[in-house]
Amino acid sequence: MKKFVIAATVAATLVSAANAADINICVEGAYPPFSSTEPSGEVVGFDIDIANALCAEMGQSCELVKTDWDGIIPALLEGKCDAIIASMSITPDRMQIIDFSTKYYNSPAGFIGAEGMMESGLDGQRVGVQRGTIHHSFMEGVFPNVELVLYGSQDEIYLDLVAGRVDAIMADSIAMQEGFLDTDSGAGYAFFGESYSVPEYHGDGAGVGVRQGEEELRDAFSAAITAIRESGEYSMINAEYFDFDIFGG
């Protein structure tokens, strides 16, 4: 019995040592250039640099927890992490379940299609979107006359665009630039029409997600975002990834 108690005490100490960080942060690792996983298993990217900068600003120690996108909100709700920094857009739908800091960036959404395509000619055409994203809601609300085709992942949409099953794609501009247009299969395709950032659909940019009721943590992140904007830390990180200010208007 005594041995068992000692063993339990040791185990408890080890667990608390592993969780010694003040804040555990869920990150994704499959959304370049915001977060991607190195061959060594290390997660790198814009989101990661921002997360580290925010923690340093707040004077807290942070542990990054790599989590799949599908499970990232459940992980937050179950307490596996205390915050999400994973390019998650602040939307009314998500606000029903979790809470957000102010935005830390806001990249516009846009259309891509075969070169020469026009936004005015979209009616009746097929546009591929990732199921359940802000782009899905946006297209339903703003372009009711296009035929929407729903996909599970962005990569499948690129395949079908090249195959000619969809005429255009609506998604995040930066993700499409890096994930498709800059690749070999992106030849012959280009952005067309306006770039969109409608708060009603696209939310207010990407923010740090926290559990509802944790106002203190949320406000600490919001304050830290403002602070790194002012200190110039943000623009240094920004410059490593983008040649424009991704913070948005």
Partner: protein, 229 residues
């Protein structure tokens, strides 16, 4: 539990249910039209045709439905020759790709069911028909096929339920069926349990209706085989 979000999106689930029902029903109908002659040819062991049908049945029963669907949807579209061909307007559509694949798949399974049923029709029934002076064609259409189809009912009922459940793979090629609605709910609000539970309940309801319908059919058409006390 956020079943209010399911309620907010009930139209999506209703449309999904309709898509599942009609895709399954059409696939079964076309599959049956393939299986009836194919099963007869197999049971009669008609030369050349019977081995060809055997290859078809083996191919479709030997591979998973999802792999078949990927081959038709993503596989064929990879070839420029296919994309330039007359068939592209059909193969371009996810819906037609699913319908073609499901019909061929269901047809393969039903072929074997019908072949088995034809082979187990008691010789006595056919001899009795012959002794009444029916021509061989009349024996086939008035005795053999109706009797075989009755016997095939329980097994075919299983095939119908399998097809319904197999149709979930349509959601991976962009078709918004019942599972597609569940996945949309999951992706939009990050709630898995509510959306998938609703999907499960819908599939179960449709299955109950089908099982009940087949039980009624069996009660009517297999009455003569029931043991009465």
């Amino acid at each position: 539990m956020r079943f209010d979000l399911v309620a907010d999106n009930w139209v999506m689930f209703a449309e999904g249910a309709w898509m599942t029902v009609q895709l399954t029903a059409l696939s079964l109908l076309i599959g049956f039209c393939i299986a009836l002659p194919a099963g007869l040819i197999r049971a009669r062991r008609i030369r050349i045709l019977s081995p060809l049908i055997n290859i078809y049945v083996y191919a479709f029963r030997g591979t998973p439905l999802l792999v078949q669907l990927f081959l038709v949807y993503y596989g064929l579209s990879q070839f420029e020759a296919v994309r330039d061909s007359f068939a592209w307007p059909v193969l371009r559509e996810a819906y037609w790709c699913a319908l073609i694949t499901f019909s061929l798949n269901s047809g393969a399974y039903a072929t074997e069911i019908i072949r088995g049923a034809i082979e187990t029709v008691p010789k006595g029934e056919l001899e009795a028909a012959k002794s009444l002076g029916l021509s061989p064609r009349k024996v086939d259409f008035l005795v053999l096929i109706p009797s075989a189809l009755r016997r095939a009912l329980p097994q075919y009922g299983n095939e119908v339920v399998f097809m319904l459940h197999g149709s979930v793979v349509a959601s991976v090629i962009t078709i918004q069926d019942i599972l597609g609605a569940g996945r949309t709910l999951n992706a939009r609000y990050y709630i898995a349990y509510e959306g998938f539970l609703t999907a499960a309940a819908l599939y179960m309801s449709i299955t109950f209706v089908l099982v009940f319908a087949f039980r009624m059919l069996e009660r009517r058409y297999l009455r003569h085989l029931r043991v009465s006390h």
